[in-house]
Amino acid sequence: MEYTWDFGSVWEYREALWVGLTNTLRIFVICLFAGLSLGLAMGLARYSVRRWLRWPAACFIEFFRNTPVLVQIFWFYFAFPILAPFEISALMAAALGITLNSAAFSAEIFRGGIQTIDPGQWEAGRAIGMRYREIMARIILPQAVRRMMPALTNRGIEIFKMTTLASAIAYADVLHQARLIASVNFNPIEAYTVVAIAFFVILYPIVRATYALERRLAKGD
């Protein structure tokens, strides 16, 4: 079958796509920062000597790693509003689901990264009179973060891809906007092709950069 491609109809609605892209970036930035910070806290808690910190952290991590993120988003969108005393927007529900999911995955990255640091570093820190917190902040984390960079960048890429799930609860991200354009213009081929290419063009350079970073770290370490 011969199909005439017509990207002009998508171009006419470029502003709608642009709005979608800024919304995608908004939820991405929220989830990246909140997810990584909470992930660090959870990773530290999981590594803690205190059992009342370690256990809840382990439960949180295992639960959110072992359930699909879309189920979490649906839970926060359809179930949570009944329990919560306040209104929950699509952005909040999607951001909550993606953030908690990313926190669980990045907690494992932080934990793994911290554990690869030689115990001698801890002993040296203690020998010059540093407390746990100081050693962690000044000696261990700066070294660990360097080693974790490739894994953390991968997480970031995953989060960016995950933001499309917000469209399932009608958050106006780029995919949702494409869907609108497709239903108005009857041009799903062009609309979705443009979105797919946009994601590839944005993410692929970052993927390449991660490969390069991995190679450099493999050489340096």
């Binding site: 933001t163 799903p188 081929i189």
Partner: protein
């Protein structure tokens, strides 16, 4: 204070079981097509022939770096216009997740194949084997063993990703949960039970993976990620 009441959900639990079967069916289909396709992509990408290696590399990178939901929408809404076929949610999901998972499986295969020592290739050549023969008889059997943990992990990841099919109304577990919530007006219970079912199945599988990994570690073979 909210009063939890699971009776309506338990009475209609048949819906959820059907959904779980739907989830397993789509995961199984994607695995059945994704694994062989992934092996083909990996072999093509490793091939010395550029006209084979380049397109394979592109397919792998493209499907790894675009969101699966965009792919699903493309196959569901766009493909039927390009090709004259009757698109169903199941078919769209099967195509999307077969290709998407094959791109990830290809990288697992590639890592496994590359991890085999050079000496094995040289030994095969020394006794007169051709490249395809050496690959089939010497390299792959050793590589597959190292890939098992990465494979199972990827399959678990695949099962979690299949929840996306609910958005094109394929009756998987998540879709059925939504139906159940609307039928019983008990979204909290319906979605909580669904999350717990997913957790039980996926966590159970993760524990199996860990056991297999320990077993492989005992047999003294390294694994690849």
């Amino acid at each position: 204070m909210y009063e939890w009441d699971f009776t309506a959900v338990i009475e209609n639990s048949g819906l959820l079981w059907q959904g779980l079967l739907g989830t397993l069916a789509i995961t199984g289909t994607a695995l059945a097509f994704g694994l062989p396709l992934g092996l083909m992509l990996a072999l093509s990408r490793l091939s010395p022939r550029k006209w084979l290696a380049w397109p394979a590399g592109f397919i792998i990178e493209f499907f790894r770096t675009t969101p699966p939901l965009v792919q699903l929408f493309w196959f569901f809404f766009a493909l039927p216009i390009l090709m004259d076929i009757q698109m169903t949610p199941y078919l769209a999901a099967a195509i999307t997740f077969s290709i998407q998972s094959s791109a990830f499986f290809a990288e697992v295969f590639r890592a496994g194949i590359v991890s085999i020592e050079r000496g094995q290739w040289e030994a095969a050549r020394a006794i007169g084997m051709q490249r395809p023969q050496a690959m089939r008889r010497i390299i792959l059997p050793q590589a597959v063993k190292r890939m098992i943990p990465a494979f199972t992990e990827r399959s678990i990841e695949l099962m979690k990703t299949t929840t996306l099919v609910a958005t094109v109304s394929y009756a998987d577990l998540l879709y059925q949960a939504n139906e159940l919530a609307q039928k019983t007006f008990r979204p909290i219970e319906a979605f909580t039970v669904t999350a717990l079912i997913y957790f039980t199945v996926i966590f159970g599988l993760s524990l199996c993976v860990q056991a297999v990994e320990r077993r492989l570690a005992v047999s003294g073979d390294s694994t690849v990620r």
